[in-house]
Structure formats: C-alpha cells, structure tokens
C-alpha cells in the first residue's frame, strides 16, 4: 500500500495542470450580506419587544465561472427573520442553485434562473432581497441567438415559495425579439432604430374546490391560463417610442375575487432627448392583470408577471412617506418627466450650470360597471374613462453647484394620496414637501452633508386607524464622510400638528473598504411601507440597534 500511494501521486501529477485549466482554473466569486436587528418596545411609535432579542438575515451567493460555464448557489439564513420579513422565511438552507452555459449563440441555464419578457407584463421572475421577494423559477431556461438581431427565449419551471417550490404549478413561456438594425445589413447604420418582440406565457395549476359565496356552486377553474404580449421599441434621432400590449386569459383568483374577466394591459412611452435636455411621457392602463402561479395566493409571492408603478421613485424620506403601490387589478396612469440643464456662464446657470428636473404623475382607478361577484365576469370597464383618483405626485428639483466645494439641491413636492391604495378608507391626503440638501466638500478627505425636510399635510391622526404618518413633519440630517472610508450621520424626524407627536431619531456609522461595507445604526424607525418598483412590504416600527455587513469578493 505504501508503495502504491507515491505511484498514484506520480500518476496524478500530469493531470494537475490540466485540472488547473479545466476545473481549478476558473474563478470563484461571491457576495455575502449579513443584517441584524435588536429592537425594544416603544408604545409611542408602536414598536414591540423582540422575544429572540436578536434577529438576523444572512445571505451568501457563491459563483464559479470558467469561460462560458458558470455554476452558483445561494445560502440564506433567517434566524429569525427581521421585522417586516415574512415569518415563513424562518430557517436556513440553500434555496437557489444553478448551472449555466453562456455561448454566443446559445445560453442554457438549468436550476434557478431569473428572466423577463419585454418589460415583464406577462413574465418577470425576479428577486429583491430588501422586499423579501424571490420569484425565481427553477427549471430550464434557453436563449437562442440564431442570427444577428434575433433573440428567442424559451423556459419552463416552478416558482419559489419561501423554502419550497410549488412543483404542481408549472410556468412555461416563449419569447422572440427582432432588432431590425441587427438583422438587416442595410439598416445597420440607419437613424431609425427598431425592435419588435412578442411573448407567450402559460401556467398550469391543478383543479381545486372553490365555491361561490352566494350559492356554494363549485367554480369551473381553468387549469391552464395563458398570457401574451407584443411590443415595439423605435427611435429616430432624438425621438423614441416604446409600446407594449398584453392580454391574459380567464384567470379567476383570490386577487380578483375569482372573476372570469380577461386581463389587459397597455404601456406607452415617448421620449425626446438631446444633450442637456430630455422629456418623456408615459401612459399605462392595467385591467385585471394579476398573474400568479397559484390562484389562491394573496400577498407579494408567486407573481409571474410584474406591473411597474410609473410614479417617480423618490429618495427623500418625506417624498417617500406615501409611496405608490401598483394596483394590478386595475389602474390608469400618466407620467411626465423633464430634465433641463441651464448652461454654464448664463445668468441662471452661473459658473457651473444649473440642473432642473420636473416630474409629474397622476394615477386613477378604472371606471367600472359591476355585473357580478365570484364566478361571473365581475365588471365591464370603459377604455378611456378614468375612475377614482389614486395618486398625484408633482416634484420640482433644482440642483446647483454654488462653488467648487458647495452643492445645493432644493426640491418641492406636492402629493395627493388616496388611502384606498393601501386598502384603507378615508379622505384624500394632500401633502406639500420641501427639501434642502447641501453638500460641502471641506477638502479632499472630508465631506459634510446637510438635509432639511418639511411636510405639511391635511391628514389628521386618528387613533382607530392608527396611521402614524398623519400630521405635519419636520426633519434634519447631518452626515460627515471622512478619509474616504468612514461616515457618521445623525437625523431626527418629528411629527407634530394633528399628528401622533413623536421623535424618530437615528444615528448611523459606516465604514467602506473596497467592496466591503459595514454599517451600524441606532434609533427609531417609523412603521410604514417599504416600496421598490411599486412592490411594497409593510415594515413595523422598530426601536434599537441595526447592523449590516456586505462584501463582494
């Protein structure tokens, strides 16, 4: 035996350089994120004690790449899930893994994948770790690029549901896109750029017993539900036009109260842009387009498609206090956006120029005529008539560099908010928001930032509804970045005048080194909706310590 081992080792030696190129020659990369939280009761803001004392969410993505081949997996641990995350995430494991080949003409992924057809109105498997949404599909995803300018995608899979995959409910889809400038040689350098695409998605779900409320009849449920979409993307010089239209078959589900009406959605977008000026106008109409792989699933899980909100995604706290959540059952919207840069050396532009950004959006419900409840077509709706006002958002932002060290951004916003969007009754809220944000670059290694915000609202706090956003608000924030690595910030938000008077103070410290970032925070967090892309998650109030560590390697 002793003699055989050195012999074996010797025999293995020539294999190592080969393995080094073949298997070991690849790269292992990844990222790790750890978030934790300690929260104590505070009756004023509605925070409760955490029985575990410490809550934490951990996630690690490990990716192995070797040429066109890659394989990866994700470890997740929720011990226990942080406040606002669904408790069904409790536990740990490896919910996501895949192997993939990305060639020039062919890409194949087996295992978990994320995919999107067009803008996602009929299919978008995506994830957002901050929302706790992971709609990844597990199955097979193939992309073909047979000719220049032509892309064909085909997929089949089942969707992730917390720690499980609902294996009975299958999602299948096919999508094609043609880019004329890539396909037709004569159009390669044309000023007219044009792409056309079409997709079809079908879900299969076994039958189940669901009875109508009125007379207890069992619903005749479709086991296969299809949805299709066509789209175009054209531009000529400075002008651009995108359009997408989708339809969905009969899909009675809990989100539409089991009606048999077909779904429909239209998105239009027109832009004009040149250096220093741009304008765009978006319109959408969504009617009964909630598309899930399980008909009885309410909430944010198991969505097959994605209907984006077209309102602006604000970053300032008070402009974001009443975020808009997309109403997949029905809405109409119009959004306009204008950016203009006043040139340097002009009266208003000054030495450095001035940036002006205006955004306006109006979202309404549909104008519908009720025709029945469960088991019927539900309602009819008029294409061009609008229903109740859901949301209005106007904002004007002026940003100006005052000197080589000072930069000031001032924003005014006006919002009208209908509590019905969040499923509550009550009067419309009218809010005025003013923000001043100043950055002072003291020197190469020291930067100070100040932010002041005010919100005046006609909303009044009502103990029965207990919406802690009601009332007028004021806030201040100071942030100090030093040595290109550290930051410390302190802020306080105070609600007064018809509000549930409370202070929400916060202190944060952070350190960044290359792609590693550590952040510690202590303070009070208001309860509210965390919304990303029109998808929202309710986050309860918290009072205490939070920490976060992220690294990419």
């Amino acid at each position: 035996m002793k003699k055989i081992i050195p012999l074996l080792a010797l025999l293995c030696l020539p294999a190592f350089p080969l393995m080094a190129q073949g298997i070991l020659g690849g790269h292992v990369t990844g990222n790790i994120q750890l978030d934790g939280q300690i929260s104590h009761a505070d009756s004023l803001i509605g925070a409760t004690d955490v029985p575990e004392n410490l809550l934490s969410n951990t996630r690690a993505d490990i990716l192995y790449t070797n040429g066109n081949f890659s394989a990866g997996m994700r470890f997740e641990a929720y011990l226990n899930p942080m406040l606002g995350f669904d408790y069904r995430y409790k536990g740990m494991g490896i919910p996501n893994y895949f192997a993939s080949y990305q060639g020039e003409m062919v890409s194949i992924t087996a295992g978990n994948f994320y995919e999107q057809f067009g803008s996602g109105m009929i299919l978008r498997a995506y994830e957002d770790r901050y929302l706790g949404v992971d709609n990844s599909l597990r199955g097979l995803n193939v992309t073909l690029r047979p000719f220049s300018g032509v892309t064909i995608k085909a997929l089949t899979g089942v969707q992730r549901y917390f720690w499980n995959y609902i294996s009975e409910n299958i999602v299948r889809g096919i999508d094609g896109e043609v880019n004329l400038n890539g396909l037709i040689a004569a159009m390669a350098d044309s000023r007219l750029r044009a792409s056309f695409g079409a997709g079809f998605v079908s879900k299969y779900e076994p039958d189940e017993f669901i009875a109508t409320q009125e007379n207890g009849y069992k619903l005749n449920l479709p086991r296969n539900v299809g949805a299709g979409a066509v789209r175009m993307d054209m531009s000529y010089g400075n002008w651009g036009l995108q359009a997408e239209y989708a339809r969905k078959g009969q899909d009675p589900c809990i989100m539409n109260n089991y009606i048999y009406r077909k779904g429909e959605a239209l998105m239009l977008n027109a832009t004009y842009s040149q250096k220093g000026f741009s304008a765009n106008l978006q319109a959408k109409r969504i009617d009964n387009m909630c598309f899930k792989s399980s008909r009885s699933e309410s909430g944010e899980m198991l969505y097959i498609n994605y209907i984006p909100a077209i309102t602006k995604q604000h970053t300032y706290a008070f402009l974001n206090m009443y975020p808009y959540a997309t109403q997949t059952t029905g809405e109409m919207g119009l959004q306009g956006d204008v950016m203009y840069k006043i040139k340097k050396g002009t009266l208003l532009g000054g030495r450095y120029g001035t940036d002006i950004h205006f955004n306006g959006a109006v979202i309404t419900g549909l104008d519908t005529n009720h025709i029945g409840f469960m088991g019927t077509d539900g309602y009819t709706s008029s294409w061009f008539k609008t229903g109740d006002l859901y949301y209005t958002d106007l904002s004007l932002e002026v940003a100006k560099k005052l000197s080589s060290a000072l930069k000031l951004t001032c924003t005014y916003g006006y919002q009208i908010f209908n509590p019905a969007v969040e499923g509550h009754s009550g009067d419309l809220h009218h809010n005025h928001v003013v923000v001043a944000d100043m950055t002072w670059k003291v020197n190469r290694k020291n930067v100070l930032r100040f932010e002041a915000e005010w919100m005046g609202s006609d909303s009044k706090y009502d103990a029965d509804v207990d919406d802690k956003r009601c009332g007028d608000w004021i806030m201040g924030l100071v942030e100090y970045n030093f040595a290109g690595a550290w930051f410390i910030s302190a802020s306080d938000q105070y609600v007064y005048n018809d509000g549930n008077k409370a202070n929400y103070y916060n202190i944060s410290v952070g350190y960044t080194h290359d792609a590693t970032r550590l952040q510690l925070g202590y303070g009070k967090q208001r309860e509210g909706l965390l919304c990303i892309g029109g998808v929202c998650r309710q986050v309860p109030a918290s009072n205490g310590l939070t920490f976060s560590l992220t690294t990419t390697f």
């Binding site: 081992i5 080792a9 293995c12 030696l13 190592f16 070991l24 020659g25 690849g26 790269h27 990369t29 990222n31 994120q33 993505d61 790449t65 890659s70 990305q102 020039e104 994320y114 999107q116 995506y126 892309t151 896109e177 880019n179 400038n181 890539g182 750029r193 054209m234 531009s235 995108q242 977008n269 832009t271 842009s273 040149q274 250096k275 000026f277 741009s278 765009n280 978006q282 994605y306 984006p308 909100a309 077209i310 995604q313 970053t315 956006d337 950016m339 840069k341 940036d355 950055t439 670059k441 290694k445 970045n481 290109g484 960044t512 290359d514 792609a515 590693t516 970032r517 992220t550 990419t552």
Partner: protein, 168 residues
C-alpha cells in the same frame, strides 16, 4: 501517507494560486440605449483600462458619482485612455427613463441597461453604486461599493496604476 496528502494539498493550493484575477463575464446580454442587444464581451478598450460602474436613475449617490466624473472624464481619458461603461440596473419601472436621464445629464459614457440584472448578479453587485476597474487583459483588478464625494480620486489613482502597468 502524510507526505502524500501534503503533496496533494500543496499542488491544489498551487493550482488555485495560479488562477489569475477574475475576468469580466462574457456573453451576458445587455441592452444598448438604441434598443439593440449587446453581449458583455463587447465591453472592450483596446488594452486600456475600463471603469465599469453599476448605477440606477433613482440612486442619488450614483448620480452624484457620475456627475462628478463627467467633469473629469475628458482629462482622465487623455491621461490614461480609460473608458467608462455605465451599467444601469433600472427595471421596467424606470428603464425607459435611462436614455433621457443620460442625455439630460449630458453623460458621454458608454451606457447599457441590465434590466434582468444578469450582469449585476454575475459581478456580485449588492447595491449600486458599485465600481470596478478592469485592466487591459479584461481582469477585474479593483472594486469599490458606494460613493461619497472624493472617492473619484482613489478611483483615478487605481486607473493610473493600471494604465502604467499596461504601458499606456
């Protein structure tokens, strides 16, 4: 027996050590601003350094970073030959606003949209902004998460070093 394991272990470590820096992922599909699809292998700069920056229209620090660099870009290009490739991770909500946003801000960067976030995942980006420096051989030699005013000075220092190594 012990020697055998030591040999195997040291050979294995040796093989890993032979591995060079990770390179830019190839064949990931991105959208150009004119609506055409582009493979990530098209991100090239004739052997000169590349800055790959992940950003989004709604991300304040990203916009601060790209606006700050805008003022310096010409100077940087002349000095080091660097090219900036700005990858927008805007999703369906705001992807149609990327082109107007880029033009409105007067950015001269090469911009691609990574709407399905395949490139973001392949590069292990957690949050925007996230900046990578790629050397002339396509290897990722430096990366940095987040942006505060002044970070661009460290970035250009790295680019200068990379440019000097590749003899530009």
């Amino acid at each position: 027996m012990k020697r055998f394991f030591l040999t195997v272990i040291s050979l294995t470590i040796g093989c890993f050590a032979m591995a060079q820096n990770a390179t830019l992922p190839q064949n990931i599909t991105l959208k150009a601003l004119d609506g055409s699809t582009v493979q990530s292998s098209a991100i090239q700069n004739d052997g000169k350094p590349i800055i790959v920056n992940f950003w989004a229209t709604w991300c304040k620090p990203c916009n601060r970073e790209l606006n700050t660099i805008k003022e310096l870009y010409e100077e940087w290009q002349e000095e080091t030959g660097v090219k900036i490739v700005a990858i927008s991770i805007d999703d369906a909500r705001s992807a149609s606003r990327v082109k107007p946003h880029v033009d409105g801000n007067g950015w001269e960067y090469e911009v691609y949209i990574d709407q399905n976030q395949d490139f973001k995942r392949a590069m292990n980006v957690v949050n925007p902004p996230h900046t990578f420096v790629i050397n002339g051989r396509g290897e990722i030699v430096w990366q940095h998460a987040s942006y505060v005013e002044g970070d661009e000075e460290e970035l250009i220092e790295v680019v200068r070093r990379v440019a000097a190594e590749s003899g530009n």
